[in-house]
Point group: D2
Chain length 407, copies 4
């Protein structure tokens, strides 16, 4: 055991940091100016993507790339510090073809796509020429318990017919959006095992019967790429659009969510570091009652608590990544739940402290704090609410205890 | 000591509750539809104001009304449960001419206005025919320590000349906005006592040199009535626009803030109750892992914690109000700081729990939770950040200890 | 509604405060010196009891005293501030014949005793010439759910025969201990309603088969009056020792626990005030890094938080007491649960802060902080663990919601 | 970077675990029986020490052992998991010659002892034939700011004369106690630099003028080895008893405290694991309201929170240890402060949850929970109160920010 990063990672960190400083930071103002007009800044992104790919900063998230697929071939643990750097600017990941939910979709297709699916959907995703979405959660049931899901996927000859409602399908309004991966009940027999009745199918963007009902705001932020509510009304896709086997939808969803969850956490930690820097900056800049805010011990305590919590979360994240790398996503399941809960709760906590140090300015859009907090709050639901993960962790702990104590 | 409300209050509560059910709740959808188009629903409000005033539900907040002034003449403690009811719907208070910051301005003018000021500014405020604002906090200094304020109010013959920047001036974009009360340094001598250099002056809306720079978002909510950043560039007002005495600005600000702070807290508690109801509703409606959410003991704990905290905050609020009524705002100063911290922190805590029970839906605008949380977060700065009040409470406690222990 | 205490209470507070200063504080050192030798300072207590009774400071806790019974005849709300004063010194209550568990036993006997029981057990209790105990909780089951209790009370002719184990029977080692009230299953039929199978019987101290197994330490404090584990081995008492009706044990326990719980909370708040004073004292006395501890804003925050929390808890306690006085113990049930959770958790929180301000000295017995904390920790179990009360509060809230929303 | 332990560590963990099971666990009952009689179980310990040393489980804590000194020669990071195992039973470390404060003294002497000191004091310590203490903190000043220390060490010819009071000198009542290392002001010139006026001297146990005033209880636990208050009344020691250079006392204290602090944290994490096991055990054993406690989601949350917090603390501890190993104790200073705060606060939090799950039994001595909690509470002062470490962490963070942002 040791904590020295490999040379490869050290070098990539430097390169990425330099790219951020040279290209992302200067573009951040432009990015915000364009988005404020209600337009997705696709030209800006495309321009930067060319630069990133040229530098080899491309598909950094995906470990198992095959022969000619473009990317860095890093392990999850190697990717972690890089995701943290990208995560400081929430829009930056797309520039490196590392943004959710595409990363998860690429992982899934990488593992389970048929050759045809590979050619049609995975290749353009890896090239960054299209974007995709994933449709799991539903408005009418507690999707935290996925056996509640109600969307149906029924076989009709050579096709599947999909009916139901999904929401929080992120990316469905992106200019390059081409398909969403839909999880639904493919086995209508209620006596079948509850976790083996669901399947994943690819639904192309323009399919008849697929309707975007609305773009859902997150704490009043309406994302331009969309967090959409979708209606599937007799949506028909060929059976070749099935991903993996019928009835294995949950297993796939789990496989998909592992690394995806950890990627979110990595980026989240980057946001915490940025908030902590902003906290220090303001504390050093402002005076009250004759002293800098940085000299008040309550504000010092917030800074120290943030530092301690961030350091711990980062280590937990690295450990979870290492477990995925060495023992597989399934064996890392509980650690992934742990970092999921830890990192997302931490984000809103650190951000809230930073807002408080900034005073009323922290509520406005003059700093990134307000937006980042909102995103952190959403992360406490994305990939499952805290409570579901706490439940898994506790049940695993109790089971472990029983095993070890021979009960 | 007893906790039985007076008949007067009991009757007014019933009347107000019935008004809310009959008029406010049905109008809430309309209100939101209009505001979503970016228009302040002034006709709707005006229509309801007529009804409220006809019923005598008018100026409920102002204890010391004179002979022919319209209103209920309630004490602060009597007003508290009514403010709580109005507060459940954040836009409702205006219907009863009880909305901030006008209530504070009316209080201040009631105490300190010259007969001319009374006629020109107070009377139409009491009649609800105009709206007003207050400009204290500034973007460039930590306004939590008000001796930091930099806006200048300089005497020039029969006029004051005002220069500086203010922000979070709420209401400056309201269709009926007519004036703002500005706090600034009127005594430029830096050797004068630090708390006796500031004055309050009335600046009419259309005065030359007064410019609305922008409407500030609060956690991405842009209020239609505006939380505005204002520039005062050689703004000239007659010296008759001085409120109270020169150099007494802080004393007035304190007098103004006392009841105003408590009104915010009263409304806040109403919002907490509404959030707790929504929490119960969802917990009873949703199922996960084979049981209603309401049967999970962690969610039960959130409900119980919310109930205990709300009950305590309400009692503290009533006690602070009673102290103001019986011993004056100054004697109640520390209790006002206490309830200010308690109620506003409580709001975001209860709202956050409710959001968590609602799942991702809680992030959207499908429930009022997201907006209310944002407002609660802002309340942790409005009328002074938590930290300033905690400091006052602690210093009072230490002083008390010293006095009692004879040190 | 108002918060002005009655003249009677104001006068009694002054009298009690003066008694505390004149008699209790000077005796505190002596009390501790004697107890450190392992002897219960019964002479000291007896001497002070004579003084207290002579002053009329006697049985202040019991509202419904009959004709010639000695005591103040205060309501629960009137008693609250007096209990708070007594509670500052944990041993003081006995001097005024106001100590647990005797107060609860007197309440219960007052309501349900037969004339014979009144003469034999209640009268000497009211006179303070004997002490008593109550035996409810058991070592082998989760007594938080009282239907779990296993001790049996079986009818055998003119006697009840009691078998089982009880623990945390407080007072069984007190020199004046004369009887304990035992709750057990009197109806062995498992098909009977679960809440109507238990009865209360009086078991005199010297009864054959009753054995004190051991004195249980509470966080390593071994109370001289004992928190005892008892064994009942074919213990026989005449059927005249039944209190109230057979099968009504739970109803009696509930009746008994209401005021008793609130008394604990009242005393607890007194302990919090004492801890806050000690916190201020030390913060003003000690210097670190060139400033008094009282000038560090993190320590100021602890002081302010304590003040806000204590003020709220006290108001909640008064409100719960008022509800008991005006609507009965049953109607006040949820409020009693609320104050129970609030006050006991608060105690350990405030005490822990005080310990931290005192540094390592706070861990020793040089201040009362260490002992008081331990007692506060115990209070989170005495009269039921927090979790049971939170559950009751939540269930009541959910039921209320259902009723109000017409579901 | 990777998390795979070395073979050496894996093997030592197995060996140590097996020793614990074979020798420590069976002796635990005996240990407690003897201590309850007020006798330090020195024969028991000595017997086990022979076994441990024979197995090579000896001085595991000390990295830089010289040629013929006995011990394992592990790095701090290698020692961490072993200290965790020993820490589960607070008395076990002595068996492996790894108990505080001797470990810190051995470290210090290892670095700074003269050949004579090595022979006289270090060698028998490494052999486990004597025990030692350290006297830093004082009753009359806030020792968290060590420049406050008042004990004087004055040169008088070939001797130092020591005057002052120390407290919390752990081990001074141990049967093998032979000397304490005293930190005091050796440079009486108040104009000298504040951090260069103190020195460390060795004071043998039997020196005239050294008096043990009393054994201080920690939350009412009176340790048999003593946490003692000492008086130094013209205590004379030869100048050869000076450790390191005159005026370098602080530098030495810092050097000494680094690894010592981390050792405490390692053991603490072992205690947290033990508490979590006990929590699971009880949750699985007890029933309330018809279900096992382990099925209540609030208790599941406590288990999950504990697991997440322990995992993070352990990783932080390993990281801090690795920094000490690779970059030295000074470079690891902030990380040591972090783990110090994190681990000790965590201990009382996890222990408190375990106590709550155990119900009133958790308060007694029937489980180790009560004692362990008390020890955890003390650890929040030992090696400096939380607040001092939070201050250091914050100041380092602010300084870092300034450096990185070029201010």
């Amino acid at each position: 055991m040791h904590f020295e990063p490999t040379k490869k990672v050290t070098q990539l960190k430097e390169q990425l940091n330099s790219f951020m400083e040279k290209h992302i930071l200067p573009a951040d103002v432009e990015f915000r100016q364009i988005t404020e007009t209600g337009t997705y800044p696709i030209e800006l992104i495309d321009r930067l993507k060319v630069l990133a790919r040229k530098e080899g900063l491309w598909n950094l998230f995906l470990p198992g790339l095959k022969n000619n697929e473009p990317g860095t071939r890093l392990s999850n643990m190697e990717y972690a510090p890089l995701a943290e750097i990208m995560g400081r600017y929430p829009w930056a990941s797309e520039v490196f073809n590392c943004s959710a939910p595409d990363t998860g979709n690429m992982e899934l297709l990488h593992l389970f796509a048929t050759p045809e699916q590979e050619q049609t959907w995975l290749k353009p995703l890896l090239d960054g020429s299209i974007r995709s979405a994933v449709s799991i959660t539903e408005p009418d049931v507690a999707s935290s318990d996925p056996t509640n899901l109600q969307t149906t996927i029924e076989r009709d000859g050579d096709h599947f017919v999909i009916n139901g409602k999904k929401w929080f399908t992120t990316g469905a309004l992106h200019p390059n959006f081409k398909f969403t991966m839909v999880l639904g009940i493919s086995d209508q027999n209620e006596d079948s095992p509850r976790h083996q009745r669901h399947s994943f199918v690819i639904v192309p963007a323009e399919t008849e019967g697929l309707r975007i009902i609305r773009n859902l705001p997150i704490m009043n932020h309406f994302a331009l790429e969309g967090h959409c509510e979708l209606e599937f009304n007799d949506v028909k896709v060929p059976i070749t659009h099935l991903v993996g086997e019928e009835g294995k939808g949950f297993a796939l969803a789990q496989a998909r969510l592992g690394p995806g969850r950890v990627h979110h956490c990595m980026r989240t930690i980057g946001q915490c570091e940025r908030a902590l820097e902003l906290m220090c900056q303001r504390a050093l800049d402002r005076q009250a009652f004759g002293r800098n805010l940085s000299e008040f011990s309550n504000i010092q305590d917030w800074i120290a608590e943030s530092r301690m919590e961030i350091d711990q979360a980062r280590l937990l994240n690295l450990y979870a990544s290492w477990l995925m790398d060495t023992q597989g996503n399934k064996a890392a399941r509980i650690l992934i739940s742990e970092i999921k809960v830890v990192a997302t709760r931490l984000q809103t906590r650190v951000l809230d402290r930073a807002i408080q140090v900034w005073g009323a300015a922290g509520l406005t859009n003059d700093t990134p704090l307000s937006y980042l907090w909102s995103w952190g709050r959403a992360l406490r639901f994305i990939d499952g609410p805290d409570e579901v993960h706490l439940r898994s962790i506790a049940r695993a702990e109790l089971k472990n205890y029983n095993t070890n104590s021979g009960q």
